[in-house]
């Protein structure tokens, strides 16, 4: 299995390099909204002193970390796999003795992220000198505690997106379904604004959803803003959501492939 992953990595890594210009465009597109939020919120906070207790530096550190957390936990499986189901290119992968989505698809996403991450680093450094955030609240413990949960969140997020992508076995409208899912994700993950600034009801709902694990929760862990109790809660929630995502994905994928092979592969 290690050998398969290694070779899959080589192929996907080489493939992603072929599209490096494309990737850079994608990265810039993806950076636009968090940087706008960062600029808007810090200027509001600068005028008012703070927004609901959030100072300008709080916003800066929050969004600077969000850029990294989002990069680690996000995935593009809907774009890298959806079309294969629709145009039938999946057939070639389906008759290989490995799981298309859990091997090739996953490695492809990681290769993509690694390359965009390399593009993010210089941009992040420039932003650092522009906004000069004060990261004094960040501790090694916080970082070490956040890394495993981000990895869990990535796998969970990948499987949830893969589940939605697999709806392509039934409907050609899968991209709009994923757009809707993505909007919900943005709302409850804390990308628009840190969740504590959201109405109480949104915060309450967010507790029961996996999305805050993608951004808000790991950022707060890194910044050392959560109590031990809250940190444990987050890990438990990550574990539960992982199991839910695995179950959901397996079920949808299995039935999807059955359907694929019923209608004409």
């Amino acid at each position: 299995m290690f050998q398969i992953i290694k070779r899959l990595w080589q192929v996907n890594w080489a493939e992603q390099w072929q599209y490096r210009a494309n990737l850079l465009m994608y990265l810039l597109y993806w950076l636009v909204s968090p940087i706008i939020y960062l600029a808007v919120w810090t200027s509001i906070a600068n005028q008012k002193g703070s927004v609901n207790g959030f100072t300008a530096n709080d916003f800066t550190t929050y969004y600077m970390l969000l850029l990294i957390c989002d990069q680690v936990t996000s995935n593009i499986v809907i774009h890298s796999f959806g079309y294969k189901i629709q145009d039938g290119t999946l057939s070639g992968e389906l008759i290989r003795p490995i799981h298309p989505m859990l091997t090739n698809g996953l490695v492809n996403n990681i290769a993509f992220k690694t390359l965009t991450f390399m593009g993010l680093i210089p941009i992040w450094i420039i932003l650092y000198f522009l906004f000069k955030p004060d990261f004094s609240g960040v501790s090694i413990t916080g970082i070490l505690l956040a890394i495993p949960v981000m990895l869990l969140a990535f796998i969970t997020g990948y499987l949830l997106s893969a589940t939605i992508t697999s709806l392509a076995f039934w409907t050609t409208r899968v991209y709009s379904i994923h757009e809707f899912y993505f909007a919900i994700l943005l709302l409850f993950s804390g990308q628009f604004v840190p969740l504590t600034l959201m109405p109480k009801i949104i915060q309450d709902i967010a507790q029961y959803l996996p999305f805050q694990l993608f951004m808000y929760y790991p950022i707060q862990v890194i910044l050392g803003k959560l109590s031990t109790e809250k940190i444990i809660q987050g890990y438990v929630s990550a574990g539960i959501w992982l199991v839910v995502a695995i179950t959901l994905f397996n079920w949808v994928w299995r039935n999807g492939v059955k359907r694929y092979s019923a209608v004409g592969a």
């Binding site: 050998q3 070779r7 080589q10 003795p97 490995i98 092979s261 592969a265």
Partner: protein, 326 residues
Amino acid sequence: MSLNSIIVEQLSKTYQVPEREAGFSAAVRSFFKRKYKDVKAVQEVNFTIAQGEIVGFLGPNGAGKTTTLKMLSGLLHPTGGKASVLGFTPWELKPEYLRSMTLVMGQRNRLSWDIPAADSFLLNQAIYRIPDDEYKQTYKELNELLELDPLMKKPVRNLSLGERMKCEIAAGLLHRPKVLFLDEPTIGLDITGQVRIREFLREYNRRTGATILLTSHYMADVTALCERIIIIHQGQLKYDGGITDLSHKIAPFKLIGVMLADADSHDLSGYGTEVQNEEDADKRYIQVKAEDVTRITSKLLADLPVHDITITDPPIEDVIEQAFNS
């Protein structure tokens, strides 16, 4: 283990295809209530193929050839009947099964478009768990037959159609499958390319004893490779047997070609149906029933100023054409 690689019993596949009339109001109606039409792509087909056989699978477009190949390779669930390949039920997609067969279909299948074929080959080596020395040996053999070396380092997108097909076929054979399903393996290739792929498949079959089921539009593929053919038309099996028996069973005719002095002045309609043969314009050809050949030949020789006479089987294309229409 049984000597039959492939056993197909009453295999059927019916597609449900949405259909609507053209036009705006029909589009609106179909939004609320979709009409489906059943398309019987394959209907209760039966055959068995022994280990090591090369069988040609023929039929016009839409006959159900590809559907059958997809069912046998596991991509499609049938709506009825059974199939067993190497003792596996294909559509269960068991990894052991997938490791022992190959399906070559079209030109974009196993190779990644953007990178050199060599990388895709190494990936296949890992996926199919091919030990290093076995991989090297297989590659060497494939390279001998297909001359792959010069193609390996170019990105697949920069290869020509024929080069790509060679790489696709090689990629599909690295794991030395025991059963090969080939859908139009020579499509788009020039004559030399076709001949090379044909020779290669024959040699592969000889060396490994693999079972091969192939479809082709090029009759030459089939006549060169297959002793046995299966003809399918509108989803139904029309013929299963030797390629040489086909003409006896389906079209028991012979062609008599005669070269005559002042060729055009004689009326041949009394001897049999005259047919055109563009390859040999010097002779005139008549089609006669097999049992009448001797009688009509001696009559022709007696009645007319014959310079030369030949008796041949009708071209296989014509015979199969007749089989489709019968």
